[in-house]
Symmetry: C2
Subunit: 375 residues, 2 copies
Amino acid sequence: MHFPEALSLKSGASIHDYHLAFETYGELNADRSNAILVCHALNASHHVAGSYEGQPKSEGWWDNMIGPGKAVDTNKFFVIGVNNLGSCFGSTGPMHMNPDTGKVYGADFPVMTVEDWVNAQARLLDRLGITQLAAVLGGSLGGMQALSWTLQHPDRMRHAVVVASAPCLSAENIAFNEVARRAIVTDPDFHGGHFYEHRVVPKRGLRIARMIGHITYLSDDVMNQKFGRQLREGMDLKYSTQDVEFQIESYLRYQGDKFSDYFDANTYLLITRALDYFDPAKADGGDLTQSLAKAKAKFMLVSFTTDWRFSPARSREIVKALLDNRRTVSYAEIDAPHGHDAFLLDDARYMGVMRSYFENIASELNTAPATKEAA
Amino acid sequence: MHFPEALSLKSGASIHDYHLAFETYGELNADRSNAILVCHALNASHHVAGSYEGQPKSEGWWDNMIGPGKAVDTNKFFVIGVNNLGSCFGSTGPMHMNPDTGKVYGADFPVMTVEDWVNAQARLLDRLGITQLAAVLGGSLGGMQALSWTLQHPDRMRHAVVVASAPCLSAENIAFNEVARRAIVTDPDFHGGHFYEHRVVPKRGLRIARMIGHITYLSDDVMNQKFGRQLREGMDLKYSTQDVEFQIESYLRYQGDKFSDYFDANTYLLITRALDYFDPAKADGGDLTQSLAKAKAKFMLVSFTTDWRFSPARSREIVKALLDNRRTVSYAEIDAPHGHDAFLLDDARYMGVMRSYFENIASELNTAPATKEAA
């Protein structure tokens, strides 16, 4: 969808004549009350569920949770997936032309924040004729967007489902992001972010960034279970500092290579920066309770015991701040071995909790039109 | 000290005509029974204690623990610090000339293992006329050397003091090493390890390697205490993906720059590989109890609660395997906030434990000559 009018950004800059790529699943009901917005994290897109015709391996990134008869049931809900501004899966991003200069944006693409994405999503909903969402749902960075929705547009949603997220990044989180960014920016093929005109891609930097990311998405335990100290070729060491010896090395190199083939380097910088910047309590001197007083939604928070990137303790900070404000909060801490990645994986307890919560949201829907007429 | 004769290495290769840089502190006693060997970790050297004349900021890396009147008291002990082969602080390494080719070793420097270093250290002790050490002491990778000493030369030592170490690296540890190595190896200035002849240094890769290292040496808690989300310049964000915004970024960049000025890239590869390879239980099918049966020393193990790189659980694996073998083991798990770095820092409980243990070793010394004569 094309948006000609300028969107003011938190940085003071603005962007106009941009496109947002989005997908929808299910049917919007008569009173337009069953819409669920799904917000994506670093490496995902608007393609949330289902597969493309003739492409059997093209399942959406949350296809295990969202679809007909699934935990988030598209027979009941109208689900919207949207690719954020600055990403590289169809919405306007650094690889596109800046209408003001006629040149590719590159490093000049405006810096995006979670708040900016939420405002861009709200405009998309305006155009879709959706005044109030049944829920905003997101994991990790997507969870930050769901949280931010409750503060920026408290009357436009009834539920916020925040999975494996945090009220802000810790110093260690920022540190990992910074190393990944330095790897990209110091790659000689980055050319200050204007690599498109040099017809190169800073693949070395992207590979390193992805490898670091992958380590932090997994738990130490699951890495030991999956790879341990297993050698790649039989039992014999090759005694080499540069060749692959261990399976974990081979796995990381493969993940890095794959990522560097499709992900945009400027997008990586933009999205990790949006993560760094998100801090709704900052305006209230760090008092999260005070900042969350604006929220009106009912909340569901989910965290995973082995997630050390967005640990349960960080979710509990949000739960506490909401309880301080006497908001309605459900909280599930799922005992799962997979680290941060758990939010994308199948786990019976996790899926059970999500199903229950969305069934409750659906049950409100069924009676909603009647109640409204009565009022 | 120059060693002309060839040292056979675990890889099957060998090295000859090499030098080992070492320092000693205190006096060797009459029966040569008070020697303590200190083994270093990734980024340290033979310069363990004291300062160089006229260089007030040249304290050794364990100067807080080792010296006259300190926990490891050089009024009582003869302490030996030795720089390992392949390192870059004086002993023969990749930046030196290969006597067989007349060219700089570079990437052709033989791959070193913990076992090889221990054998090189044993040769140094032969030349110093020390048959049996009072103790071998090391932290992190240095602790692995202390542990390996008890298996390779069980009769040449009475105590092993293993601090913040592990019986082998986990998959996650190897993963972090691999990312750091890839950053170095894929730096265009690395030239396959033969960068010396191109008169360049792969500084980009070394910086990234050091930044990753630093994150894993610190705990999340101490990073939050020291840096938190503090901005570098006042309270205002600059909204930039490439400039420094947060203090933690500035700190990491500084550490990376400093490191890339003095550390050798091939040394980084070699030492992280030695870490990866160390796995004394491998020969016994992973049964650490069986492998440690060879050890005769008394053991002191120390770990730190917030160390997630070499967690207390890993030290406890060693303790259990020693107890299974009915060895004498002391174990201290120090509640310290500093992560892996804690082993280099001052902490009253840690220093107290070390002092007590080394006082016990010293008390054995005083009576040792008399006992020997009686025998």
